[in-house]
């Protein structure tokens, strides 16, 4: 039985079948990997590039980045502070979820994009205080609509920067490459 199958696979038709099976598996794997690299769906197609284009600072909507561990996502009240003065808010279909949320009081369920694993303790404040700009990790927000990661936030990415920043300063290098600085 198996011998007959192997014989058939060696024939032209069998070889084509093997080729198709291989291609199918490969494209499935490629699709699966591409799924992990795409930004998650958001309740509102928030255009970062439009807001950055108006000259709004990152810290205006994400003030937590300068103060503590979490940068934070603005509440609808903050959005509404500007948007209730904008005529387009009343007519735009894309902004309907924001309007509904403000009227009903049910907050918008934003999906976090830039995340680190549970066993990593990240603090935005230290990085902003050290003179790192937002785009160093989060990419140029003046070019994207819905927020997406320009790279995977893994330990190699963190350590590469930590080592570069520390340079020849041995004391700083010990602190920045210590396991206990991020993992506890």
């Amino acid at each position: 039985m198996i011998k007959r199958l192997i014989d058939w696979l060696k024939k032209p038709l069998g070889l084509i079948a093997v080729g198709i099976a291989f291609l199918a598996l490969f494209s499935l794997a490629a699709y699966g990997i591409s799924l992990t690299q795409t930004a998650p769906a958001q309740p509102v197609q928030f255009p970062h590039k439009t807001h950055v284009g108006f000259g709004i600072q990152c810290l205006y909507c994400h003030p937590g980045a300068a103060k503590g561990p979490s940068a934070g996502i603005p509440t609808e009240a903050k959005c509404w502070g500007c948007h209730n003065q904008i005529q387009k808010t009343q007519t735009s279909a894309l902004l309907q979820p924001l309007k509904d949320s403000v009227i009903s009081g049910v907050p918008l369920q934003w999906v976090p994009v830039a995340q680190v694993a549970d066993f990593v303790q990240f603090n935005h404040r230290a990085h902003v205080a050290a003179g790192q700009n937002c785009e160093n990790c989060h990419g140029d927000m003046s070019k994207v609509t819905v927020a997406e990661n320009p790279q995977v936030f893994n330990m190699g990415f963190c350590l590469k920067c930590h080592q570069t920043v520390a340079g020849d300063n041995h004391e700083l290098l010990v602190k920045l490459t210590d396991c206990g600085t991020c993992h506890y």
């Binding site: 303790q121 404040r125 205080a129 396991c179 206990g180 600085t181 506890y184």
Partner: protein
């Protein structure tokens, strides 16, 4: 060059007694277990339940040890002894880990447990002379309202991972972060560990041992201070007072 650096590091660890230290006064400890409860709250320690506890799998980063002296009926209880990770300068748990999950922090001079590296061989716990390491034998469920009290600054450990007292390293980092944002150094007594904070008798004092002016350093100079199993050469950073 590389070898020279290594030798100087070894010398440093032998001379320097550490960075963070603790003094526990057994004479004023009442054994009320407030430190045990506070530690469990602060560090997201699981409640293992009755059955697993019966197997000796109870998880505490600090426990109150009791000893008895004499034969029945003339039994006398000795002072309560809070036992936690001694944050040894020369720890026995560190060299045995095959995954380098329990490493020595060069920056904070603490024994770290890196949860994402740990593969659960339990070698470190078997090699610890103080028996202060706890192993997650299961993913212990937290009943619904309890999950809301998890400390976001501390990793929630999963099954198969070893854990132990960290000297509340999350509080150390928080204090350092606050101090740095205000452009100053961390002041002695500015923060303390959860166990020391909860102790109603102030039996636990925490602070810098490399700062001669700190309260811990002052207390450590008292002559009746004892470091447990010091003869093993572990260089523990917790000093006990008994019969002062």
């Amino acid at each position: 060059m590389a070898i020279e650096l290594k030798i100087s590091e070894v010398k440093m660890s032998a001379e320097q007694s550490g960075k963070w230290g603790m003094v526990i006064d057994q004479d004023i400890c009442t054994g009320c277990q407030a430190c045990v409860a506070a530690c469990a709250m602060e560090n997201n320690i699981s409640f293992v339940g009755e059955v697993d506890s019966g197997y000796g799998r109870s998880m505490h980063w600090i426990r109150i040890e009791r000893f008895w002296e004499g034969e029945y009926p003339e039994v006398k209880m000795t002072a309560n002894q809070p036992m936690l990770c001694q944050q040894c300068g020369h720890a026995t748990c560190e060299p045995v880990c095959p995954a380098f999950a329990t490493v020595h922090s060069q920056a904070e001079q603490l024994n770290l447990q890196v949860y994402n590296r740990c593969v659960g061989t339990r070698y470190c716990a078997n090699n610890c002379p103080y028996q202060v390491r706890a192993f997650n034998w299961r993913d212990y469920k937290r009943p619904e309202p309890l999950s809301n009290q998890l400390n976001p600054d501390v990793t929630v450990r999963r099954v198969g991972v070893m854990e132990k007292c960290t000297f509340c390293i999350q509080r150390i980092h928080k204090a350092q972060d606050v101090a740095k944002s205000e452009g100053r150094e961390v002041v002695d007594g500015e923060f303390t560990t959860a166990c020391a904070q909860a102790c109603p008798a102030n039996a636990i004092t925490f602070g810098r041992v490399d700062d001669p002016e700190s309260l811990v350093s002052q207390l450590m100079k008292q002559s009746h201070g004892v470091k447990h199993l010091e003869e093993l050469g572990t260089l523990p950073n917790v000093t006990y007072f008994k019969g002062g």
